[in-house]
């Protein structure tokens, strides 16, 4: 791989791809967190049907390879008259996957909050929803950060499947260059960029965990 190839061909293409990757992550992550939280709350506190629905959804997503989910969303849905753009199909696929796994981390964290807190909150006159919102979740979400950051890292890597449904993100951009110039070093370059993204996420998650820590509750 010479400098000319690197500077004039590879890096500009990977830059375009990286922007798409970031767009995918930025569009998917907030909804993944929101729906993950709702799914977790639904499973712990929901009634019979809510619980059943959440379990079914999480079970289905966990059992379905993401690439298959993307193919269903992009190539399968047109047979019932639903035409999603490649971007929308990818984002919906990532949100489904991200929220299903997030919900398990958050559910574990919710279960780790002692039962007595719920009772104490109702003794103070809080409704069930208020207690979940103001007492249980603030504690649970802090405890879920290590797991959630893990899942965020997975999301970065999920995004590398979008090129299979024509959305040219980082991996797809690299693959296009590779299929034209056959320089295997392309993949090393892509690997370095993903590693950088993951490292930034890890450092960010650690900082967030420290910043949100409540003195006396988590130190040991």
């Amino acid at each position: 791989m010479d400098a000319d190839f690197l500077i004039n061909i590879l890096l500009p293409a990977l830059w375009e791809g990286l922007l798409v990757t970031l767009k995918l992550i930025i569009l998917s992550a907030p909804f993944g967190l929101l729906f993950g939280t709702l799914l977790a709350v639904g499973r712990v506190y929901g009634g019979f049907f809510v619980n059943l629905f959440c379990r079914f959804f999480v079970g289905f997503i966990k059992g379905c390879p993401l690439i298959l989910l993307l193919f269903i969303l992009y190539f399968g849905l047109p047979s019932v008259g639903i035409y999603l753009s490649a971007l929308l199909a990818s984002v919906i696929g990532f949100i489904c996957c991200n929220s299903a796994y997030n919900s398990e981390y958050i559910r574990g964290a919710i279960l780790s909050v002692k039962e007595g807190q719920m009772i104490a909150a109702s003794a103070l006159g809080m409704t069930r929803i208020q207690a979940i919102r103001h007492v249980v979740l603030p504690q649970a979400m802090r405890r879920a950060i290590p797991g959630l950051s893990n899942e965020f890292i997975y999301l970065i890597k999920y995004s590398s499947l979008a090129y299979m449904i024509t959305l040219i993100e980082l991996t797809g951009a690299g693959k296009l260059i590779f299929s034209k110039y056959f320089e295997p070093d392309v993949f090393i370059m892509i690997g370095i960029i993903y590693l950088a993204l993951v490292t930034i996420t890890t450092v960010g998650a650690n900082a967030l965990e420290k910043k949100l820590a409540i003195p006396g509750t988590q130190g040991r």
């Binding site: 190539f75 490649a86 090129y163 040219i168 693959k175 296009l176 056959f182």
Partner: protein, 276 residues
């Protein structure tokens, strides 16, 4: 330690051991210099060459419902093998990784409707050209677009990654600013392109004419224009494999002089594509 946990640990250790054994087993096959080994094997006293093909590229090469390799190039390769006194086996591979597989020594040649391009020629040697093809552009029957609209950059175009159709579109429609980079959609294989043309996510599909004709057969689509790119097909062989290149060129020469060549051209509807 709990017996359950130690049981799991033992299984994990066994797995790690097995995977390491697999690695070293694989390495011992490689030559010490680290150079890729050709996959040719000697069976009895006949050399067996592995031919890499695209498994979804009719009429040149495809895998039939029984799992056998079929097609114009497959039949040609079998004839040449017999003519030159070696044996061949066929290995379907992903098209965008087929040259790297050749360079890595996983296969001995690519004989599967591969266009000779400058970029590919930098990495591999090509045999003498054996077919010349044009690029075709297909539309849905009910589409109002014309071939002129396509050439003027009004269509969203679909192409298979790594094909000359994709490269032609990049060089002649995107590089000239007629369409934006977003207007060329890349697919993993050509059947997906046809599916998305049917879904109307794209307006036009570009591919080598004979294969395009095959891919849209029986679907409500038609080829509305052809682009004479002057491209020719050759057999790709590793640069250092000059002996094999010599054999394939001699075999091709004999094949194209034989009546069987004309039979094949008729059978696979490629009459007129042969340089002879």
């Amino acid at each position: 330690m709990n017996t359950k946990i130690s049981g799991i640990l033992i299984i994990l250790l066994a797995l790690v051991a097995v995977s390491f054994a697999g690695c070293t087993g694989g390495e011992s096959v490689e030559s010490p210099s680290g150079d890729a080994l050709p996959t040719e094997q000697i069976s009895g006293d006949v050399t067996v060459y592995t031919i890499g093909i695209d498994g979804e590229y009719p009429p040149y090469s495809y895998i039939d419902t029984d799992g056998n390799a079929q097609g114009f190039d497959v039949d040609s390769a079998k004839w040449i093998a017999k003519n030159q006194g070696f044996e061949v086996e066929f290995q379907p591979l992903a098209w965008d990784g087929i040259i790297p597989a050749l360079l890595a020594g996983k296969i001995d040649m690519v004989y599967s409707g591969m266009t000779i391009t400058d970029e590919r020629s930098l990495k591999v040697n090509f045999s003498t050209p054996y077919l010349q093809v044009d690029q075709g552009v297909a539309f849905n029957n009910d589409s109002e677009m014309t071939f002129e609209d396509f050439m003027a950059g009004k269509a969203v175009v679909g192409a298979q990654r790594g094909t000359t159709g994709a490269i032609w579109t990049e060089e002649n429609l995107i590089a000239t600013g007629l369409i934006s980079a977003d207007s060329l959609k890349y697919y993993d294989n050509f059947p997906s392109v046809v599916t998305d043309l049917q879904n109307k996510r794209i307006d036009a599909a570009i591919y080598d004419v004979p294969s395009l004709r095959d891919a849209i057969a029986g679907k409500p689509m038609e080829i509305r224009g052809q682009i004479d790119t002057g491209e020719v097909y050759g057999i790709a062989i590793r640069k250092e494999d000059t002996e094999l290149l010599g054999k394939m060129n001699a075999g091709l020469d004999n094949l194209m002089d034989d009546d069987y060549w004309q039979e094949l051209l008729v059978e696979y509807k490629l009459v007129g594509a042969s340089p002879r």
